[in-house]
């Protein structure tokens, strides 16, 4: 989908967020607004009552067509901290397994007065399809679609970087591992370039890189020594064995030897480099336990910030969607 089409679908007539599907098409000012709003929501987690009444009376449905624990839980917590009512639809036992089409199921949920869908789907573009053709008046949040995009994960990673490094200017960020199957990497590359880091690098064997990866705006490296030299942030990706249909790797052991983040290979990066991972981590496959639990690791902080960032996205999209409805009513 083109950048302009992404923009038109995601923003209302006032340029405010109404669906959050993809980083592509969103400008730096809007990404910064998400990060700033998330900043304010972090303090909600410090209250005795960890809730604000912003989405009281709104219904958020979590539609996870693909397994997830962390993302679904943090979306649920985010919606609950905004005082929304949350429905978790277990797709495997729901009506689609009885032959109901996706469209019929969603329109039934719409008839139950749901205000927002959080969608994860194995097919790239499924959340776009829902936002464009099925339920345009419901705010759609992409919680990961196929190999395409995972924009809230990218934004929580951006939040983590800004929180710990202060700014994006001048930073060298290395993304290491299975870029080919990673929707997180695609969204991160887009977000990092939009927010203006110095350099985005990918470090991986050729078999785990998409064709024409340079066109995403990255420098390609095939060794940790070169790729991590001078890096301020190292983002490790999980080896997505469940998505590998052909023999892309000689063996996990060899992958770890060449591309695993160990105490030794981390020394190539800057001494204060952040170690990040979107999870779930495979200890000893792409990252050494001592590094994952080490002083430079912010992996668990990413999870915590994820709640505030998702609160920001949910409240902004709901706000933009309501503004659009109010505009339509006035013009009618």
């Amino acid at each position: 989908m083109s950048t302009i089409a992404d923009q038109q679908l995601q923003l209302n007539s006032k340029g405010q967020l109404r669906h959050f599907l993809n980083i592509s098409g969103l400008e730096r000012a809007l990404l910064t607004e998400i990060l700033d709003t998330a900043d304010s929501f972090v303090s909600v987690g410090e209250q005795a009552v960890k809730k604000v009444p912003l989405l009281r009376g709104k219904v958020v449905a979590n539609l996870f067509f693909e397994a997830s624990t962390r993302t679904r839980t943090t979306f649920e917590l985010a919606a609950k901290r905004l005082s929304a009512d949350v429905l978790n639809i277990n797709i495997s036992t729901s009506a689609t397994s009885k032959g109901e089409s996706l469209k019929d199921m969603l329109q039934n949920l719409e008839a139950m007065a749901c205000d927002m869908f959080v969608v994860r789907h194995a097919q790239s573009g499924a959340p776009h399809f829902i936002a464009e053709h099925v339920c345009p008046s419901i705010a759609i949040i992409n919680a990961g679609d196929g190999r395409h995009a995972h924009p809230t994960q990218a934004m929580l990673d951006m939040y983590t970087i800004r929180r710990h490094k202060g700014q994006f200017e001048g930073l060298n960020v290395a993304i290491v591992g299975d870029v080919l199957h990673s929707r997180v990497a695609r969204s991160e590359i887009k977000a990092l370039n939009t927010l203006g880091v110095n350099e985005v690098r990918v470090v991986a064997p050729k078999t785990l890189l998409p064709i024409d990866v340079e066109s995403l705006g990255v420098k390609v490296f095939h060794t940790m020594r070169e790729g991590l030299a001078g890096a301020d942030v190292v983002i490790m990706l999980r080896l997505q064995r469940e998505r590998m249909q052909t023999a892309l790797l000689p063996s996990e052991h060899e992958f770890y030897q060449r591309y695993g983040l160990s105490r030794e290979s981390l020394r190539y990066a800057e001494p204060d480099a952040l170690v990040m991972h979107p999870g779930p981590i495979n200890r000893g496959v792409e990252i050494e336990s001592e590094v994952a639990d080490g002083a430079q690791s912010v992996i668990l902080k990413q999870v915590n910030y994820g709640i505030a960032v998702r609160m920001a996205v949910l409240s902004m999209a709901m706000s933009g969607q309501m503004a659009e409805k109010n505009t339509l009513q006035v013009n009618r």
Partner: protein, 193 residues
């Protein structure tokens, strides 16, 4: 650009518009003598209520500026807290999320504490209602004392300040805002709605 300077630009613009239409603007009092009066009134009130060791919380943005000065002149032990009530507003369905929300910061537990809540201008009372709700999500204060620099007509909720620098009657379509932080000055503004 900080929010207050944007506010000032907007204010200047609306003042000029007001003048060009020949509208008369009310004389607004200087802030500094009001602050002195409020400090004295607040000290007396705290004595009469036997409040000891209170904490102070200012509402973003103008209320926090007023609170900074009161906090200093009262010499309170605990640092000043600030609230941004944007997430507790009652007009989210109509107006959506306000841009530029600042984090609330209460660097103390408010459980069992006497809280002095400070805002710049009270009009409808809805901001204070929102602030009460937010405060109670942090804990159960022993008491809340409400201090405002200015009280104008137009109350929509039964909420009155305990200490108030000045009371003012304004016409429909008028508002009074506090410009700052240096110096603090009350400004009259026209609004469309």
């Amino acid at each position: 650009m900080p929010l207050w300077s944007l506010l000032k630009v907007g204010l200047l613009h609306s003042r000029q518009l007001g003048r060009s239409k020949g509208n008369k603007m009310q004389e607004l009092p200087d802030v500094s003598p009001l602050m002195d009066k409020m400090t004295e009134d607040l000290k007396q009130l705290l004595v009469s209520r036997a409040v000891q060791n209170p904490v102070m919380v200012g509402i973003h943005t103008g209320g926090a500026w007023v609170a900074e000065r009161l906090h200093e002149s009262l010499g309170l032990a605990e640092p000043l807290g600030t609230l941004d009530i944007a997430f507790y507003r009652d007009d989210y369905d109509q107006r959506g999320l306000q841009p530029q929300v600042r984090p609330s910061s209460l660097p103390f537990s408010i459980d069992g504490r006497h809280v002095i809540l400070v805002d710049d201008v009270i009009m409808s009372g809805r901001t204070i209602r929102a602030a009460f709700n937010e405060l109670f999500d942090y804990g159960r204060p022993a008491s809340i004392t409400l201090v405002t620099l200015l009280s104008v007509n137009g109350r929509e909720l039964p909420i009155q300040p305990d200490v108030c620098g000045h009371e003012l009657i304004i016409q429909a379509g008028e508002r009074v805002k506090l410009a700052g932080p240096q110096p603090l000055a009350l400004k009259q503004v026209k609004v469309n709605s």
